[in-house]
């Protein structure tokens, strides 16, 4: 908890966020608070609006109503790069790296765009080593195995030293054996950088392991809040999962 204390962040507030595409409401009145340095899990069946939520908070989509605040600053509808500059950085569900660039250049790019010093990478070294990125330092991102590409993308987000990380299904596509990397990643982000983490995830084991609190989305509504143990046993949550749509999340991108 040493570094967390020195980087005293601000809380992220979502207040009655709604979003409609054309006439179609995909998101109703969702509110929650992510305290500084905290960890909040977001779960829900496919099509519940989880990625839409990340798109709204990061600034890629403007909410139809409601607001998002970082501390006292209102940030909804602000350009994504502005919000990233404020310390609100997202990761992507699919692998997101710059192809044709080496691991080294990918990380350097992230630091450059966030105006951070190269020495951040030295702090990240144990993590980079654990993921196997150090030994692949000079290989091109697109030739790496899927799991490594994903960890590279996540590490790039972390290298910007965000105050709040929005993680969109970081474990998706990873093999079971690789999922402990996510535990290490989130632990490191909280411990070393004092990041607040909003974790959207399908892997319930991971959620149970890591998150003290979760919110549950279904059909664009917030249907439950609480600890994973209590929420995941609620009947309406179980029903939402059993009756959840087959279509993949997010028609909008």
């Amino acid at each position: 908890m040493n570094a967390a204390a020195e980087i005293q962040g601000e809380a992220l507030y979502a207040e009655r966020m709604s979003k409609a595409f054309g006439g179609l409401k995909v998101f109703h009145d969702v509110s929650f608070t992510l305290p500084p340095g905290g960890l909040l899990g977001v779960i829900g069946p496919n099509g519940a609006g989880k990625t839409t939520m990340i798109n709204i908070i990061s600034g890629r989509l403007a909410p139809s109503s409601g607001q998002v605040r970082l501390g006292d600053t209102r940030i909804d509808g602000r350009p994504v790069y502005d919000n990233a500059g404020r310390g609100l950085v997202r990761s992507f569900q699919q692998t997101a790296t710059f192809s044709g660039y080496t691991v080294s250049d990918n990380l350097r790019s992230a630091l450059r765009f966030a105006r951070r010093d190269l020495s951040v990478l030295e702090r990240l070294a144990p993590l980079l080593d654990q993921f196997g990125l150090v030994e692949n330092w000079n290989r091109h991102a697109e030739v790496l195995p899927y799991g490594l590409q994903k960890m590279l993308g996540l590490t790039m987000a972390l290298a910007t030293q965000p105050r709040i990380l929005l993680l969109d299904e970081p474990a998706a596509g990873l093999e079971k054996s690789e999922r402990s990397n996510i535990d290490a990643y989130i632990g490191f982000a909280q411990r070393e950088f004092g990041c607040g983490v909003l974790l959207v995830e399908h892997d319930m084991e991971l959620i149970r392991r890591l998150c003290p609190d979760v919110i549950v989305l279904d059909g664009g509504r917030l249907i439950a809040t609480g600890s994973p143990g209590e929420v995941l046993n609620r009947k309406d949550v179980i029903d939402a999962y059993l009756g959840g749509g087959e279509e993949d999340d997010d028609a909008e991108h």
């Binding site: 790069y81 992507f92 790296t97 250049d105 105006r115 030295e122 993921f131 030994e135 987000a157």
Partner: protein
């Protein structure tokens, strides 16, 4: 300090050179053109060298925008703005100093490009292509319509020779020196600009959504690139007007934008050397085969299709790939990369 930290620190000390080999070779070739007048006085050869250098400098406008994955047809527009700026300054205001004129030929188009860029760079890439295409048509019309300033269909004729620190540059070899100077300035600006922001440009080209999410304000870089591309095109416009001693709308025909695109694509859009090599090869080919002017578009069209279908990297890209494969795969991590599963490192 753990071993991992030490390894990373070691890696961080590796620095990529600012200019790659391609930039050095390109700038060297352009500089060599200064020597041509001492080697030959053949007017045919001098004019050919002039045409190549102007074509290459103009094509840099395409090269710069391609760094950002944007196809620009606007080169003739900005060439016209640069060229007419020079013509108006020298004919109406008596400015003949080549450095002042060069600055004006760069800055006026660049300044025009800023509001225009703000307008069209918010749009998707496809709109950018369409708008730049329409822009060249419109500038062409404007040149005819704004007769009081541009001389309309007569153009602006009888420009005085430019001066370099008071020395009049008037004969054929002097004109080539002026062109070479302008071309070198254009290539140097382009090389510095594209290398200085290579991470930003590459990121925008490959994945602009990711770049923005990491904090990069993409539109700023696009607007900047559009302005610099306009300025460099303006230098080419200056060189062209200086060679012809006339500013005329037909020098900036809308379809000539296709030629500049062809030089860049056929030469190889991945490297600044490609633009130069493309211009050298294609301008010479047009001349060597004594193709009548009207046939060269067909040849260019065919080459574009062939390059796009068969050799995406163009001449330079293909040669580079061949050279690398001759050197053996030991040096290329790419070759055996995909198959090998990376082993896990211990914490």
């Amino acid at each position: 300090m753990t071993t991992a930290t030490a390894t990373v620190s070691g890696y961080l000390k590796q620095k990529a050179p600012f200019f790659s080999g391609h930039e050095w070779i390109t700038l060297g070739i352009v500089l060599l053109a200064f020597a041509i007048p001492t080697l030959t006085a053949n007017p045919q050869f001098l004019s050919q060298a002039n045409l190549i250098l102007i074509a290459a400098t103009a094509a840099l406008g395409v090269y710069i925008m391609l760094r950002l994955d944007l196809m620009s047809f606007a080169v003739p527009s900005f060439m016209a703005i640069g060229g007419y700026t020079v013509a108006v300054l020298s004919l109406r205001l008596g400015v003949t100093d080549v450095i002042v004129l060069g600055l004006a030929a760069f800055l006026v188009p660049a300044l025009c490009a800023i509001p225009l860029g703000w307008l069209i760079l918010r749009l998707k890439g496809v709109y950018f292509v369409l708008v730049t295409f329409v822009l060249t048509e419109i500038v062409q019309l404007l040149l005819f319509e704004a007769a009081p300033l541009t001389g309309g269909s007569n153009g602006l004729v009888g420009m005085p020779a430019v001066r370099f620190f008071g020395i009049e540059l008037w004969d054929n070899s002097h004109v080539l020196l002026t062109t070479t100077g302008l071309a070198f300035a254009g290539f140097l600006i382009t090389a510095i600009f594209t290398r200085r922001f290579r991470y930003e440009f590459a990121a925008i080209e490959k994945n602009d959504v990711l770049a923005e999410s990491l904090g990069l304000a993409c539109w700023k870089y696009k607007a900047m690139a559009f302005a610099v591309a306009a300025g460099v095109s303006g230098l080419a416009g200056f060189a062209l007007v200086n060679m012809l001693m006339t500013a005329h709308p037909t020098s900036f025909a809308p379809m000539s934008s296709v030629n500049y695109i062809t030089y860049t694509i056929v030469g190889g859009k991945g490297s600044i050397l490609g633009t130069l090599v493309g211009a050298i090869l294609l301008v010479s080919a047009t001349d060597y085969f004594a193709l009548r002017g009207e046939l060269s578009p067909g040849l260019f069209g065919l080459l574009i299709i062939v390059v796009t279908l068969l050799a995406r990297g163009g001449v330079i890209g293909t040669v580079t790939t061949l050279v690398r494969s001759w050197r053996g795969k030991g040096m290329r991590p790419l070759a055996d990369g995909a198959a090998r599963k990376a082993p896990k490192g211990g914490a």
